[in-house]
Assembly symmetry: D2
Homo-oligomer: 401 residues x 4
């Protein structure tokens, strides 16, 4: 046990699960904001890896400012087209020279972004539908990072910042998160008409959950209005079944409710994302580090995606607090709701936060004293291995949005 400043107390609100109204949102990976998050993080990972490969350590960079300017499209049953390409501008800072060696940061960023798009937006034709531009500046020359794969000294916090994590996910949160994830990963396997831009909004009032799904369909795989409606029905059915895996509450599922099929105004796209027509996007405007937007819970404004995982304290603490919260809930019995906040101390090693501040709602029958020691141990270990977060981010094992 170290002398880390860990404070554990009862949460002075009830569990989110017990609040009367709960709102949860997830912007799917094809949402314009998420596309920016994804590119920013993909570029970040590629740069970190390139630095490790070339100079043995991660140099200074931050690429958390991708901007997407929507295109224009003319979707049509059976296959339309993009009329004006989406424009994506990758913005950030990266060290371009180190000890006489040039690092091709712009080329790396360009390739990483295009690969990300290719893998995650299969209906986007990279030759006609999107322009990827890069404006990476040099960062401050004196900021050279010290992370290497062999380990090393723990970096110092360079800012007063904080991160926050929660566990366990409420039923509504689980449903919202998994709706998007499983639609993409499972349902989409057999339904090529499903696009990647799926926005899920969950609202729970008491014991009724309204789940609103806005799912872009891909016109090539939708020959006519009947087919469109059949897909919507299939989504509704799939999501309804899925939701009842997570809850006994009543669930009402609404899919593409803004459609006006009589007027032909439906959510049909050529590329599977609304970025093709009128929806701009940027980094840090969508999901928090746990993949959700949860106004019932404390959130950090920090854009996690694209930040340097070696010394950007906001990124590290958001990911670490989330990880710690999940580990605690998994290992310790009797916790109904948990919030972990890590507050940095400028100039101190990042494994020594100013305070690790935990608020616990115990299940009935459990006292705080029952769970305190085990929680404290897990937090302490989590902080001690803070650099695992950095490594996991670089390997792409931790999602940031």
């Amino acid at each position: 046990m170290t002398d880390r400043n860990i404070r554990i107390q009862s949460l002075d609100r009830g569990a989110v699960e017990d609040q009367e109204i709960e709102i949860v949102e997830r912007k799917g990976i094809g949402h314009p904001d998420s596309i920016c998050d994804g590119i920013a993080e993909a570029v970040s990972r590629a740069l970190a890896q390139a630095y490790l490969d070339r100079v043995g350590k991660v140099l200074h960079y931050n690429t958390d400012e991708t901007q997407l300017v929507a295109g224009d499209a003319a979707p049509a049953f059976g296959g339309g087209e993009v009329v004006e390409p989406i424009y994506i501008l990758i913005v950030g800072r990266a060290t371009k020279r180190y000890e006489g060696q040039e690092i091709p940061v712009d080329s790396i960023a360009l390739e990483a972004a295009r690969n990300y798009l290719r893998e995650n937006l299969p209906n986007l034709d990279l030759e006609t539908d999107v322009i990827v531009d890069v404006r990476l500046g040099e960062g401050s020359g004196d900021l050279q990072e010290v992370f290497s794969e062999d380990g090393g000294t723990v970096p110092m916090a360079n800012d007063t910042s904080f991160g926050v994590g929660h566990a366990p996910l409420s039923e509504t949160e689980q449903i919202v998160y998994n709706t998007e994830r499983r639609l993409i990963e499972d349902f989409g396997e057999d339904h090529p008409a499903l696009g990647q831009d799926i926005k899920v909004m969950g609202k729970r009032e008491g014991s009724t959950i309204d789940l609103t799904v806005a799912a872009a369909l891909v016109d090539t795989f939708v020959p006519n209005m009947e087919a469109y409606e059949a897909e919507i029905d299939a989504i509704r059915e799939y999501v309804t079944d899925l939701a009842y895996e997570y809850t006994d509450r009543e669930v009402r599922v609404h899919v593409n409710t803004a459609d006006d099929t009589a007027a032909g105004a439906i959510y049909l796209t050529t590329t599977g994302t609304s970025a093709e027509q009128g929806d701009d996007g940027s980094v840090g405007r969508g999901n928090r580090a746990n993949g959700l937007i949860t106004p019932n819970r404390s959130m950090s404004m920090e854009a996690t995606s694209g930040k340097n995982p070696v010394n950007h304290i906001g990124k590290i603490y958001n990911l670490l607090s989330t990880k710690i919260a999940m580990e605690v809930v998994e290992e310790v019995e009797g916790i109904r709701d948990l919030r972990v906040r890590l507050l940095s101390q400028i100039g101190s090693p990042i494994d020594q936060p100013h305070v690790a501040d935990l608020h616990v709602v115990t299940e009935s029958g459990y006292e705080l004293g029952d769970v305190d020691p085990e929680i404290r141990r897990i937090v302490d270990e989590g902080l001690a291995s803070v650099e695992d977060v950095t490594a996991a981010v670089i390997r792409g094992e931790l999602s940031t949005f």
Copy 2:
């Protein structure tokens, strides 16, 4: 009294003022994120006014996606220079043609942005230090707004969204907010060396408030290191005095703590903003609609700045809930803490939210029942006059960041 769905209940957490740890942040108007917020909102106002002047109603637009790419500078005592201009890309959608009339939305946006910079960043030379670029697309043609100055029907909510407001501000919040505001508006009058990029972080632990101020100084007005240190001292003194106007707690003020004066590494700029060198920015990443980042409170992720104030429900509800919360606290006695949430109902008029959800912490000696009727009345009236928010935004009377 109407049939609006207004729910008032006790807040199931204590007042923020009573929590053990409180974190509050404000990014000043010269912070790169705030510059983007300010430009986005200035462009929005200019467009709304132009539409009113030319076609008598506000047409469809959203300009909430300005991206700032940092420049490069060589500040120096007595006056340095910008080496590479800041690049600002205004992104969004705006209706360019209406009933045969062309609306010069790009020119309007360009002028509004440049005027905003001129007024708010007096040390930025618009001829050498910044490039303002515009990429406004056309929005969906069928979305034509119906707001006119003569009033009209209340718009329908076009999305499921919510807004949140709080009152009163805690002591720490008041201090953080007013530190930046009064430094700019009062202290700066006699201290031209004070730049516009002032970031204030407040952290309260129990009854001690740590106030960390990062203030960019302007090199032209700082002849040497002594002058620099004198300015920092003056800021510290000014802020300390200011803080004690709002609290009896202990306050510790830290100004430009990252400085290493021995090494000459100080927060000196040519233009008064860190955007001149390495700090990128974008809309919606900084302050919430009440001017603060408050992780102890429920926040909306919505970028309020730049959104169309006629029918963007997230913007309207964030501003309205904040306005209602402030009015309630001003008019009703006995409220220690109040949270107002407005949740929209797609397809219903925006003055009829799905629910107006209020959580109250009463002062000791007051019961919820004492304050409920008066609160209810204020909320009801606030909703009834929702279009006042739109008008006030267009007139620039409501700050969005």
Copy 3:
């Protein structure tokens, strides 16, 4: 015989072949200016074809303003890399809507440009080495072109402009032109190290021709300095042999004379074009329509590449006058040198130039009267079938640079 205004007279200078000093230049297809010419023309062809396919006629467009901003590269024996991608901005005007139909001109331009690069610069990696951006505006709405594949009325000239063509090519011109062409098409087959950026300058003084070749080599295929020098030797030998096919004059061939092999300063590239490092380019700055820069001859400043081939009179007349000159020389005996100039008449059909102005140098033993009637017939037929030029351009059968 028509009433076209055709004037044929003796050229009042000697044949270029007989002048004391002659200068001829060709920028190869990988030269930054030629890349722009090539893209501009590829985009033009793609647009013309798309208009024909979609609306049955070619609508108004001009895409003659591509700008290339050079990248940065770190070539190295055995394979280097591009450090900062080349940036290519496609500029122009194109009709985006026609009778309710949207034409995806930006997407078409983007695809055509990328395909052009892929086909013509095989060593350029489109995922890392180049950014293609598009800014196509709408042209004047009232300018709708009337060319259709079924023929139709002859367009009117919309400008006072002229075109000029010459034949036959002088020996030096033949050598310069074919050096680049045959290096690319023949020598390059077995020499992958040969890049696409080959600049050939021919200077003839009396009976001595100095041929200066600057050829970019591709680093992947050049393991070391010996290999480099061997390639240079092979090029010199190949070009020398080639040159003597066209002349009995003395030819001196200089390849990459700016190299300083001792200092390691050689013409080595990663992509085969100097655009990768420091050489910008734009349309219309390089070769004239016959593929050469010939200061000994009358030239048009008109940028032929990218112009609309239906009604851009400068483009059509440059191509047509060149075609006529070549046909005359092929069919008519006794011509040593020929210049064809076509001058347009605003508002008249383009097959009725203000004047077709031919200057002839006959071979000894021939009088102007001998050749006049046949020349006149060929010119008349050429003008009568002016629309063949348009069709040939769209099919890609006529080179413009």
Copy 4:
């Protein structure tokens, strides 16, 4: 007398003045191509001067690639507006660091361009009508120029290039050139309605000169169609009078012949340049170094504007050959037509061209031998003082377009 290789011979064609058909064109300073030329050269001068001021010598740069993307405008009698700003991208290379000192080349370029626009296009509102963007790369690091105001060694030619100059101007050339110049400098003084975009095309057939003037008028100063027609009449009258100062031939003046006043299709602009609506531009596509496009004469394809005046041999030789030609004609009697060509020798000092090649048409009564010695002397002196050209360019005393 030196050993410079100067060759003087009779021109084997007649004087241009004696040719049957002559075509001459000038694009005025407000033409989109000329705007680019002007900006490129203004940026070049500003950079050269900044280098001299800061490091005492001119460092490596070339800024000869400005690209203009036309805007969109809605001109109207009495005052219209720009709907979409003109976009100008300044492209080139410039040394950004020298012996530890940073040179703010991007800021210098931006300011120079904006100042140039302000001074030369008084009707262009820089706050609403134009976006100036900059993408200057670093040039090759090893190319550091050696020009200093104190003089120094003569630079070496870095390329095989040539320049060409002519004198005297033919009557048609004088008329075309002065039409634009005097309209701007004299007529415009009292006629604010005259825009800056004036294109003059002169065509002489035998002894008849057709002068076609396309002059943009500025809508603010044109209240109605009568006023428009009155301005056109005034221009026609002014130009006609002007033309007869230079010739006894018949002159026919046509102003804005493409107008269709009945249909309201006239050449009315808001800013005085066609760049506001649909006409793109770039460097080096318009006037040659003597301000004219003269297909009857030998021309260089070289873009003179924006090139580094210290060592860009094409720029220097074009300007020097023009200067020499004019000096010869001024000082030597009996010359009817003169062409000066300077051909560089890679690796030799630029005052030692490979050949200075002069072709003379003497007036009747003069033999070549009469004028040869004096011509030779002037050429020799001109070459000896080649660096005066560089200095004059930097001081802005030599026009490049």
